[in-house]
Amino acid sequence: MKIKKDNLKKYSLLSSQIRETILKASFECNERTHIGGALSMVEILAVLYENYIKKNGLNKFILSKGHGFLGLLSALYCKKFISKKKLSSFQKNGSELIAHPIVDIKNGIESSNGSLGQGLSFASGIALSYKKRKKKGKIFVLVGDGECYEGSNWEAAITATELNLNNLFLIVDCNNFQNDGKINKQMNWSNLVKKWKGFGWNTIKGDGHNLQTISNALKKIHKNKPTVFLAKTTKGKGVKFMERNNDWHHNRLTKNLYLQALKQI
């Protein structure tokens, strides 16, 4: 299904804004931040926040991959969930806006995360309550590919199919890296596709930076299965010296590098 040019433009514009905000917030806090993993989820966030997630809306987004919070935070800022002033408190002493999300529903942060493998079960609980109350709305969850090592994800994967949670939509940010480097073959993109299929999920795969692909994927709904979108992404996407360079998993941006990065996006 081809999306309208206007929409594509909107997604593209929002992606650029999110990317810029990620770099800016990272530079301004003058601390090490999770830049690489934030940059890999930008296009996914752009489509989600342009099209699905509204303030106090029925659709929800749970960031299970908590260390991607810099990305989520930037999307929340660009879509005016949080103010410039609030954004400027990112990773400042005493702030609630830190490396991992702390639940703050009125500002669009749906859960506290940071310990991996917990978001999918929590989101299943919300999705189940929607089903029971016949509430419309989709519960989106984002996990990392490295995060898929956590066994609790697979516990949730089993119950979500048994409970027919077709309002649950999982996105796996397959950027092929984890803290210590490249992820093991077992968890690579093509193996993850097999795994989720094997667990009975409606499984879609595609380029996690292609706005058309993401937009089509997020529309998918199965009549009784939860859906997973295995999004192939690039860690550090958009900034050449960060792309596939795991030094940028958690690092500090100097002024020089910040200016260099801004030019590239």
Partner: protein
């Protein structure tokens, strides 16, 4: 509430009674969810499930996932009670409890079955020896340890009628464990309950082992020792002013619990009353910091000095010195 009913409840045991009480709670609460990780039958929930199929869910043998799902339902406004055996909840799912019930404060009620030594021949893998110790470190999690089925009922009703936040209810005892409350009484959240108002020593205890304490108390009275017995049914938050008043009035203080010496009632009290305990004689009966033998419940309580007779003898010796 007559004695006949209470005896019947005691015969059925805390797990079966939990299932029964949930039926009453189910009648009154539209947005109730009771979830188990494959231990619905062990939680006495068969009748509940039949009566309210829409309010019951079995998620399978996956305690971490159980906590997450419960947390999501609680977020959406459901009153949620979850059950499994004590170690599987308090230890296997501990960090999920920390994130979901602690950090996010989602008001899920954990009902931990078969805690203490009550799993008998199933052994240490199933015992709840250290659950209080672990759960107590999670900020905001309230910890209840009912003495018998009547108290369990009062705690469950209190949790379902009030917004107490996340909680951990520790079930000890087996079918036939002695009744602690022989008639109805007034339960008040957080307020310890005086079971016997003696003057010779102060016994602070919690959970179904209070049934054994009562047996010991009868023997002590025959030996002309009249103990004051306080049921500390709520270990967190602790009612410090109430307990302080009593602790100040006694020289001999005995703590009795079906939990390891590390982090249970004795630790809770020692930590809160360090200066009060300074000039007193303190004696503790609890489980040792080790994996002990296996046997039936009666054998295990006696082995660890927690049977009525052993408690009696230990206290008598303690007071002699």
């Amino acid at each position: 509430m007559n004695n006949k009913i209470l005896s019947q409840w005691s015969r059925m045991g805390p797990r079966a009674m939990f299932g029964q009480f949930m039926i009453d709670i189910g009648k009154k609460n539209k947005d109730l969810m009771v979830i188990s990780a494959d231990l619905g039958r062990s939680s006495g929930l068969d009748r509940f499930k039949a009566a309210f199929p829409n309010k019951y869910l079995s998620v399978g043998i996956c305690e971490q996932n159980l906590i997450g799902i419960a947390s999501g339902l609680a977020r959406e406004g459901y009153k949620v009670f979850i059950t499994s055996f004590a170690p599987f909840l308090s230890m296997r799912a501990s960090e999920h409890i920390r994130m979901n019930l602690g950090y996010m404060k989602h008001p899920v009620n954990i009902v931990a079955l078969g805690s203490g030594l009550s799993m008998g021949f199933l052994g240490n893998s199933h015992f709840g020896l250290e659950d209080v110790s672990i759960m107590r470190t999670i900020p905001g999690l309230k910890i209840f340890s009912p003495a018998d089925s009547l108290e369990l009922k009062k705690i469950l009703f209190d949790l379902s009628n009030n917004k107490r936040g996340p909680s951990y209810v520790r079930l000890t005892g087996i079918p036939g464990s002695p009744i602690v409350y022989e008639k109805d009484y007034k339960y008040k959240f957080k307020k310890p309950n005086i079971l016997s108002n003696g003057k010779d020593c102060l016994i602070l205890s919690t959970g179904s082992v209070l049934g054994q304490v009562k047996v010991a108390s009868k023997l002590l009275k025959k030996s002309k020792i009249d103990p004051c017995i306080i049921n500390v049914h709520t270990l967190k938050p602790l009612n410090i002013p109430f307990l302080k008043k009593y602790i100040n009035n006694f020289k001999y203080i005995i703590t009795i619990e079906e939990h390891t010496i590390i982090g249970g009632l004795n630790s809770v009290l020692s930590q809160n009353f360090i200066s009060e305990f300074n000039n007193k004689k303190i004696f503790n009966i609890s489980l040792p910091d080790e994996f002990g033998p296996t046997g039936d419940y009666e054998y295990l309580l006696d082995y660890h000095g927690l049977s009525g007779k052993k408690i009696f003898r230990k206290i008598k010796n303690f007071l002699k010195n």
